[in-house]
Subunit: 463 residues, 2 copies
């Protein structure tokens, strides 16, 4: 029978007891699966109370050193099965992280230029929020987001886009991908979706991973067609009518009414209007979104601050038609809002104090200059003989058509070998089409001018 | 034929043209569906170039004022269908927001006390991050979160919980609810889930909304049983072995091995170990989680900073077994991380500089005092004759058993009428059980002591 010395015991008796037994287990004095004395016997033997030994046993059990078998007693656990407890062991796991290749010049990335983020203003507002809004910062946000931010967004949309929105229609979330998943839950998983071909490949990834049925619909020069929508058999069309990526198509008004008429033909049909980066259409005026000409609650509008501010601040929003907003509040209010209060209040201040509009205007000017500059450089380079710039109205990129006989994929590969990342329009087709024109995408939002001339030379060489 | 005066035109000609036509449409001079002149005729009549009128028409089209019919021409759109464009109209939508009742004393809320948030340290670290980490702040975070935060969490888990984790196993997300949805996508929607009864009701909400098949499993005094797991026919058990809510059960080691043996019996079985608020077990030592004694990659560990820091900062994480981490990186790397870089780096600094452990220790002490104080008040009040405190090991609450013949629901209702919100344990059962004991939950994490005595008197009166 084990006995321990309690003369030098410090603190509670059961803790001393627990340490003694644990040491004996760790040292191997007590062997795995060895039966420990009953509480009664142990207590009698050591001259302590049954409660004390019971507490010690319970602590050992809860830490995994000891286990019980019903009606049999207490046993020493097998420490080899508790590898995690031994904190000094070395971790050597074989996890493969997808490696992102680094390129000398990346024409495929539409990342915003970090130098343009309004750090000083953001820092100041954020500091003010933390100093003066402590109580609100600690109050749990409604599922749809804090009201102050939703009001600021509604005001911004009114002055900037001529959109009339009740702040309660606005749902804040940490990224559009997250909001897509809320829409899937809101409309129900039996809906069939249709996405644009060509289009934003991530949409297909998201719907695939959600195991949602989706199809592709072809575009003509004005965007998705009524015919393609009707032919798809889908219930929900996820489209970018204001700034289609990557073609840059802006859907004209007449087509908008056609698309809305498709949605109105049947109950349960909806349009997700993804307004990704329309703030930066560099030519023409901003156009009113589908949401604004929808009279029948068919359009869910989505936008994000990823482009207008930074993709590393994860705040997006969707605007639900009234009946869907009611459905959302009824069925999905149990969800927590996914954006931190700290950033919700900071962004609310940033918008309400007029800094967002200023920033967008500044960035628009900046991008217009970048765009013009890059086009000039192309037009003055040797590439101009084999390259036609396809002006388009929108976004942070334009297209060039290259005069080549090589397949798009081969050109991409040859240029990648020279440290240049470029994507063809055909990469954004989900089908085998679109590669005859040899259209390539030129993102200029974060381009290093010093590398452009060499890049253009390299492109010409590899055609 | 319309003609306009160009004498006072300022800026580009097409813009003047566009404004003239738009005014005529808005004023009603040009009627809905009225055919506009062809570009050629219009140009000739006004003595301007075809390009100018084409640009004007295109702007009108893109703004929805004009539409085209193929091979027919240009028509005036119906403005009544464009209500959103008229920015001065009044929005009067009928959106019903669920109203949250306000209570004088809320024993049901386990919100943390805002006074305890370490504002000055958080502000300082956040300011440093914004001043000195501009480049990292603008770099897009890996899907799993920025490495600095994941390393800080891995270190914290090692020193605080004795857990050995590769930072690449850690996936950061904006809340556990979001992470649940990632798990559903990772494991596939054909998996059947089992949740604890009683348990955290939100889990049922989340799985319902995701349209995932789930069942309930009964608990005994040691938590979920092998028998209940085996009988459920489920593949994935979502459990809280370290601090079950609301019973407070801590699963003993022997039961842990039983639960793991269930998972190991069949390929594709997993355990989600939700470690919600185990940092605040106020009695006993923290116990090693299931994840640490799992030798066969069966356990997904989840935790959040909602309890340890604030529920209004939306940062949670899960730790995937190696083969699931690989599956995650392979199939789900297209997702953006849902937490802002600004807060990821701030939290990383907060943890790495030792403030999280300090804060947890301080809060533990604070909650222990709160708990002891509240129990003393109850034991000295008149309520003690009809009330037994059920000590439990965990979390920010304890249970009291009330001596009453009224149903739990009736007691809740009567107390609500007096401004007291209290929840019975039976509310957390998904079945009709558990109401015989009249167990009620007392959350003390954010309780106003001045209201306690009156509350206890009211409870006694309404039994």
């Amino acid at each position: 029978m084990i006995t321990y010395n309690f003369d030098n015991a410090q603190g509670p008796m059961y803790l001393h007891m627990y340490k003694c037994i644990k040491n004996d287990i760790l040292s191997g004095k007590l062997k795995p699966k060895e039966k420990l004395p009953s509480k009664r016997a142990f207590a009698r033997n050591n001259g302590i109370s049954i409660i004390t030994i019971q507490n010690a046993y319970e602590q050992l059990i809860s830490e995994g050193y000891v286990y019980t078998l019903p009606k049999k007693g207490y046993y020493v656990a097998d420490l080899d099965k508790m590898q995690g407890v031994a904190v000094d062991a070395k971790v050597d796991y074989d996890i493969k992280i997808p490696v992102k290749e680094e390129f000398e010049c990346d024409l495929s990335s539409n990342r915003v230029n970090p130098d343009n983020f309004p750090f000083s203003i953001w820092t100041r507002i954020s500091r003010n929020v933390m100093a003066n809004r402590k109580e609100e910062l600690m109050q749990i946000s409604p599922t749809a987001g804090v009201m102050e931010l939703r009001e600021a967004i509604a005001d911004h949309l009114k002055s900037f886009r001529g959109m009339l929105v009740d702040p309660n229609q606005i749902i804040i979330g940490s990224g559009t991908e997250y909001l897509y998943s809320l829409i899937v839950q809101l409309l129900g998983r039996d809906k069939k979706y249709v996405i644009e071909n060509p289009g934003y490949k991530k949409l297909a990834d998201v719907y695939s991973k959600q195991e949602i049925e989706y199809r592709y619909a072809e575009l003509d020069d004005n965007g998705i067609t009524y015919r393609a929508l009707a032919g798809s058999g889908a219930d929900v069309a996820h489209i970018c009518p204001n700034h289609h990526f990557p073609t840059g198509i802006t859907m004209p008004a007449s087509r908008r009414y056609e698309v809305l008429s498709w949605a109105n033909e049947k109950d349960g049909r909806y349009i997700i209007e993804d307004d990704y980066d329309s703030e930066f259409r560099v030519t023409g005026k901003p156009i009113p979104p589908l949401f604004s000409i929808d009279a029948c609650e068919k359009v869910i509008y989505m936008n994000t601050f990823s482009k207008s501010l930074s993709p590393t601040i994860r705040i997006s929003y969707m605007i639900l038609p009234v009946h869907l907003a009611n459905l959302f509040y009824k069925n999905m209010s149990f969800y927590s809002c996914t954006v931190s209060n700290f950033e919700q209040y900071t962004l609310a201040g940033f918008i309400a104090q007029g800094y967002l509009e200023k920033h967008i205007n500044r960035m628009r000017l900046y991008y217009t200059k970048q765009r013009r500059r890059l086009m000039e450089i192309i037009e003055r380079s040797d590439l101009r003989d084999v390259c036609t710039i396809k002006e388009n109205d929108s976004g942070l990129h334009f297209l060039i058509s290259l005069d080549t006989k090589r397949p798009d994929k081969e050109i991409e590969k040859r240029l990648a070998a020279k440290g240049i990342k470029i994507k063809a329009l055909s990469d954004y087709y989900f089908t085998d089409e679109g590669s005859k024109q040899h259209l390539f995408i030129i993102n200029y939002s974060n381009l290093d001018e010093s590398k452009i001339r060499k890049t253009l030379k390299d492109i010409k060489k590899e055609l």
